[in-house]
């Protein structure tokens, strides 16, 4: 240790302190150097010697420039700073130093120079060097990962955006800019809701309330507004962003453009509809030819002439009624077959819609010797839905029920309302669904029907249509116990 301190007292107690002090210096995980006014090193701890691959003899008593590379001494202005420490008795605060020396790996230090004074006089300057190489490297790695993540987000085809908990937009990736036409600059700080179609606002509030309450990922399908006034259907996944304490700090939304998928779905719907029409064709032919045959017979009576006035009138009435009936069947059929272009959401009377769909399926049930037990309420039940889609869902369920009863049976159809929901149950007394198939019946192209007799699309399309109406579809079935499908839809 330094002469002035060492010469003060040589008592055993002082020696003990000296020992403790040395131990402390050796144990400290920083490099510690004591330097005198002449810039000579008077003490160096083990940490310093180890890191710089020096020994005590070639360090102690040497001047600073013999121990540190000249470039570091110049850059850091060690002589000037040490002089200040001695003259003004103040500490030089932490600064960063990159330590490059021949034969030693590059290290980065945070250093400070502290006055070491005795009775008001600065005896020595203490150079304290903390090795922060690892921390700096870690910081750089974090920045590299951040840049990498940013480039992933930027090059993603999907929309990736983040908002604060209130929904104000913080980030907005290139895909979001491209799809919406709005730049990050234009949207930053604005509420995300402002860029979604108005008809979804109610559900948005529900999703955000859930996220704020700390619930996990939420899914939704909302249209994104575009700069040119258009709308793009987008399927969203919202996840809460958590801070280091696990508290919700913001929201990340990933959105996928559904335009192409919607087009594909529309094609699929139409294909399946045509398949259903094929199934119905036999029943419909039978059903139209009946009134035609009545018309034709009545017309032939009139053509034969010489009729009682009352019978002649009866014939005319039969012709009229028969034509109306045939025409009604054709109209129902056309309505069902019409492609669904833009799904138009409007108020729908479910009672009427179900009755009309049922009238189309009745033909099919009759020729399959199936007894129809319909329990429809007299009063209308209003829901909000797509007139072009719902009949297809119910028709699929009805045709399935009929198909499940090749040897005849009973087709039950009931409609009712409870707890703010309308429910429709369609049951058959047919062969039932094997437990092994129950989990798959709503999957597209899953069918147990022989090749050419089922597309495997019917139930998956039902599922998709009912889901688009924010409803649910469930099934109860057992082998040889028949099946009951229940559709629930929110009441308007």
């Amino acid at each position: 240790m330094g002469e002035s301190i060492a010469s003060l007292n040589n008592s055993p107690e002082s020696q003990r302190y000296q020992q403790l002090y040395d131990m402390l210096l050796e144990a400290i995980p920083s490099s510690v150097l004591f330097i005198d006014r002449d810039l000579r090193i008077v003490s160096a701890n083990r940490n310093f010697l180890g890191k710089n691959r020096r020994t005590l003899p070639d360090t102690i008593g040497h001047r600073l420039e013999e121990v540190f590379p000249a470039i570091i001494i110049d850059q850091m202005d060690f002589p000037g700073r040490i002089r200040q420490v001695f003259e003004k008795n103040f500490r030089v605060k932490g600064e960063r130093m990159t330590y490059r020396a021949p034969g030693i790996p590059l290290r980065i230090y945070y250093y400070s120079i502290l006055p070491f004074s005795w009775q008001g006089v600065v005896e020595l300057a203490m150079l304290l060097m903390d090795d922060v190489t690892e921390q700096v490297r870690l910081g750089e790695e974090v920045r590299r990962v951040e840049r990498h993540l940013a480039s992933v987000v930027e090059s993603a085809q999907d929309i990736v955006l983040s908002t604060d908990l209130e929904g104000r937009i913080l980030t907005w990736n290139t895909a979001a800019e491209k799809l919406s036409g709005f730049t990050l600059h234009a949207v930053r700080g604005h509420n995300f809701f402002d860029f979604c179609a108005d008809d979804d606002q109610g559900e948005m509030e529900r999703v955000f309330t859930n996220l704020q309450a700390g619930k996990d990922a939420q899914m939704a399908e909302w249209d994104l507004k575009t700069r040119d006034g258009g709308r793009i259907p987008v399927s969203w996944i919202f996840s809460p962003m958590r801070d280091h304490l696990g508290e919700a700090a913001g929201i990340v939304a990933v959105g996928r453009d559904l335009t192409e998928r919607r087009k594909f779905e529309a094609q699929l719907l139409q294909t399946q509809k045509l398949a259903a029409l094929g199934v119905m064709a036999g029943g419909i032919a039978h059903e139209i030819r009946n009134p035609l045959a009545v018309c034709s017979s009545a017309a032939q009576f009139i053509m034969a002439g010489d009729l009682e006035p009352q019978f002649q009138r009866e014939c005319a009435e039969k012709i009229h009624a028969g034509i109306l009936r045939a025409s009604m069947i054709i109209e129902n059929l056309l309505r069902f077959a019409r492609p669904t272009v833009a799904p138009d959401i409007k108020e729908i009377n479910l009672t009427t819609l179900l009755a009309e769909t049922l009238s189309l399926a009745t033909n099919q049930a009759r020729i399959a010797k199936i007894e129809l037990q319909a329990q429809l309420p007299r009063e209308p039940i209003f829901i909000s839905g797509m007139e072009g889609l719902l009949p297809q869902a119910f028709m699929n369920l009805l045709l399935n029920a009929i198909k499940a009863m090749p040897d005849g049976g009973e087709l039950g159809v009931a409609l009712g309302q409870a707890d703010g929901e309308a429910w429709v149950s369609i049951s058959d007394t047919g062969q039932g669904i094997a437990p092994g198939d129950l989990n798959n019946i709503f999957d597209p192209f899953y069918t147990t029907a022989p090749v050419g007799q089922g597309t495997g699309l019917g139930l998956s399309i039902c599922y998709s249509i009912i889901k688009q109406h924010f409803g649910t579809i469930t099934v109860e079935s057992g082998a040889d116990q028949g099946s009951t499908f229940t559709v629930r839809l929110p009441i308007l």
Binding site: A293, V294, K369
Partner: protein, 122 residues
């Protein structure tokens, strides 16, 4: 050949179809009985001896061809005609039924009244 005055059975679940056939046949002097279901038809057969029957192909409780087979078992010499909008004339099921003698002929709906009468007269 079915002679006027003989009893004819009409089976069709469509009341207006029964109406049309009844008027046509009654005008020609035939006596008719109608049934809207296969069960009704079989019951009528217990009480009457029909010379001829017109059957629809699809009845609520039984297939028309099945009813024809049951009738054939009970009354082997009854003339059974199928009148339906469901089948084609050259439908395999129809061709088979004719070949097996289950039905004597098939008339598709809508039909000419002359066709019905012609079948009765041959």
């Amino acid at each position: 050949m079915t002679d006027p005055g003989e009893l004819i059975l009409i089976v069709d679940d469509e009341p207006d179809m029964c109406w049309a056939l009844e008027h046509l046949l009654n005008k020609q002097g035939y006596v008719t009985r109608k049934a809207l279901t296969a069960l009704e038809a079989l019951k009528l057969m217990e009480r009457h001896r029909f010379a001829c029957a017109f059957l629809d192909a699809k009845l609520p409780d039984m297939d028309g061809l099945e009813l024809a087979r049951r009738i054939r078992e009970r009354a082997p010499d009854m003339r059974i005609l199928m009148v339906s909008g469901y089948f084609y004339r050259d439908d395999l099921a129809i061709q088979e039924a004719i070949a097996q003698g289950v039905i004597i002929d098939f008339i598709s709906k809508p039909f000419l009244q002359a066709e019905i009468l012609r079948v009765l007269e041959t």
